[in-house]
Amino acid sequence: MADTQEIIAKLFPQATFEEGDILTVEIPDAQWHDLAETLRDNAELSFDFLMTIVGMDWVEKMGCIYYLTSTKYNKRIAVKVATEDRVNPALTSIADLWHIAGIYEREVYDFFGIIFLNNPDMRRLFLSIDWKGYPLRKDYDASPETNPVPEDNERQSDFTQVYTRDGEGKIECKEERIFAENDFVVNIGPQHPATHGVLRFRTAVDGETIKKIDVYMGYIHRGIEKICENLTYPQTLHFMDRLDYFSAHPYHHCLCMTIEEAAGIEISRRAQVIRVMMDELSRIASHCLFIGTFCMDLGATTMLFYALRVREQILDIMDKTCGARMTFNYECIGGVMQDLAPDFVDDVKALLKIIPQNLKEYDKLFTGNVITKNRMEGVGVLGREDAISWGVTGPSGRASGWACDVRKTTPYSIYPELDFEEVIRHEGDSMARFKVRMGEIEQSARILEQLVDNIPEGEYCVKVPKVLKFPVGHWFRTVEGCRGTFGVYLESDGTVNPYRLKLATPSLPAAAVVDSLTRGDKIADLITIGGSLDYIVPDIDR
């Protein structure tokens, strides 16, 4: 870490540093773009993966925290950029360096009103065009009168804005067309069976061929990050179930870990094992549902029912222990809510017995099929560099040859002790994404096999004060959710409520990458690609 700091300090004397488990650099906006370029391109640094951009409102100033990871050296760095202008806050865009930065910056603009200069597409992301105010600012007027429930159809603009700074330092706004003037634009979504929820693609097509896709999100934006700012720490937990409802356990795990680290709570070994087992069970369930819905998108409806059989069995195990089928709210600060059900071990063993048979069955019915191969092989090829630049993590990233499994790169909980492989393929197409998930089911089953007979005795939850308070500070933790890297950024100001809770979800990059993957492909390929990326819409919108 010292080297990174030295290199940056040498090149950018203005930078200030803050040591922690992740090195935080603070830099004035004027140098930010240069620093970003150096961080990405310098061979000794090569921070090529932009994990997230956390918009911040520190009241006296506004800004962003950029979390970067070096896939080569497996290091992380945080860069803080701020501006003191609250009326017209503006920062320099890095959308030209990372593909995904453009979308993240739009999100920050949407929530905080910070304009990013030179971003080619500076529109709101989640909220409608006529939304008043920026909800995550601390002085936002949340009364329902400001923004009543709209009764009229949403206003639609064919133009996007680009902000630049002219020679005298004044900010200029230019309007640009999203689609060419005579494009045949088909509106796919928000209510459409293939979008897996309420995502909306405005698709310019030429016959059956896709020319461009404009992704509209926010049809299920529920403002979880803002709600959390008014809740105590234990209360924030239950929203994790409702983001990516298939990764409820890993997401809970992540937030619990972050809070436990901030509060300095040690949890028992039994709780750790239970958490990991639940994570892996939900990974299997999630991938099963992926297989089902993906095949249904391709028209093979029957696979959905076969895949759901396994999922139902897992849900039964969860049901017995957690008391719910989907929104478990099981992991809590200090451990887990209640002890395992008495027949948990037997149930898991029964499940492990049927998984290999079922995988064989799926292979026989679907994967080997010639139509399936034609539909999936070579469709939506995402190269490794692009996957990193777009920040597509999880099974989709691993299908492009990028070893991005957080369980391996920055291990947490008891994962370092476990013996499992990271499933990596290099084709990068839809078939690879499908097969990686099939492989991960096997690996998860392997982890469960190692743990199921070795659940240690002990208490499942340590005693934690009802009202938690931590010192001032910020923490960033990641876990491997079922769809990729899920990160929680937590900033505390010493009160009982989080000052800022940012949830960096894996589905947002997956949805953002659709446009570049589908260009020149057929409409049917959009469905294949969208299905194989496996985004969950509430996870995108939060």
């Binding site: 989640f126 909220l127 409608s128 909800p135 936002y140 949340a142 923004n147 429930v149 709209p150 009764e151 009229d152 159809n153 949403e154 928000p190 209510q191 459409h192 069976p193 929820g197 309420v198 926010g218 049809y219 299920i220 934006h221 529920r222 403002g223 979880i224 803002k226 709600i227 008014n230 239950h238 929203f239 179930d241 409702r242 409802y245 298939f246 549902l289 819905t293 959905l304 029912f305 759901l308 059989r309 999922r311 139902e312 849900l315 089928r325 989907m326 929104t327 819409v537 509430p538």
Partner: protein, 202 residues
């Protein structure tokens, strides 16, 4: 009049008073024999063929998928013909949170449904806003936008609860009057009078 269903005793239903009051309101004056039997036939058809619109916004939608899967199998009741086009569906299962941006879309989907149409508010979010009560972007209950026939609490409701809700809807349809009397069209007109669409006159 008891509104009975196959394989479920009358006493097991939770809200018989409501259905009875509905019967009294709609059919209190009795009906002509011919018209009455036609109504019975039509209601038999309608109540046994409730096709959902494939509409899901979040978690409840996944439970709705589970409802269609082998274990709960809504096909037994004939509900499995989920239509993607609102013109051909009979009811919307508002499965999941409805946010400000989605509200006009949902309203439009409801308007696109062909009569007779029904709405089930499925899950806490659709009933009242649920866990997102304090959110700036969530509609606190879909009944602010569209008329709701059956409220189904739960977060998300289990598939069994969904079966119960759709069976309740089926019971409601059974007592409707097609020939004469108050029908859905009038109910909708009344609703539109109270919730006018801006820019549209009648």
């Amino acid at each position: 009049m008891e509104v009975t269903t196959k394989s479920m005793p009358y006493e097991a239903w939770k809200d018989n008073e409501y259905i009875e009051s509905l019967v009294k309101e709609l059919q209190g004056n009795g009906a002509n024999v011919v018209v009455g039997s036609f109504d019975k036939l039509i209601n038999w058809g309608r109540s046994n063929s409730i096709w959902p619109l494939t509409f899901a916004t979040s978690c409840c939608g996944i439970e709705f998928v589970s409802l269609g899967a082998a274990r709960y199998d809504m096909a037994r009741f004939g509900w499995e013909v989920a239509r993607s086009s609102p013109r051909q569906a009979d009811f919307i299962m508002v499965a999941g949170t409805i946010v400000h941006r989605m509200a006009p879309v949902l309203r439009r989907l409801y308007d696109q449904l062909a009569e007779p149409k029904y709405v089930i508010a499925c899950g806490a979010c659709a009933v009242s806003g649920g866990p997102f009560k304090k959110s700036y972007h969530v509609v606190m209950g879909v009944d602010k936008i569209i008329p709701v026939d059956v409220y189904l609490p739960g977060c998300p409701p289990r598939p069994e609860a969904m079966i119960y809700a759709i069976m309740q809807l089926s019971r409601k349809i059974k007592v409707e009057k097609f020939f004469g009397g108050v029908n859905r069209q009038e109910k909708q007109e009344e609703f539109l009078k109270n919730h006018p669409i801006p820019g549209v006159e009648d």
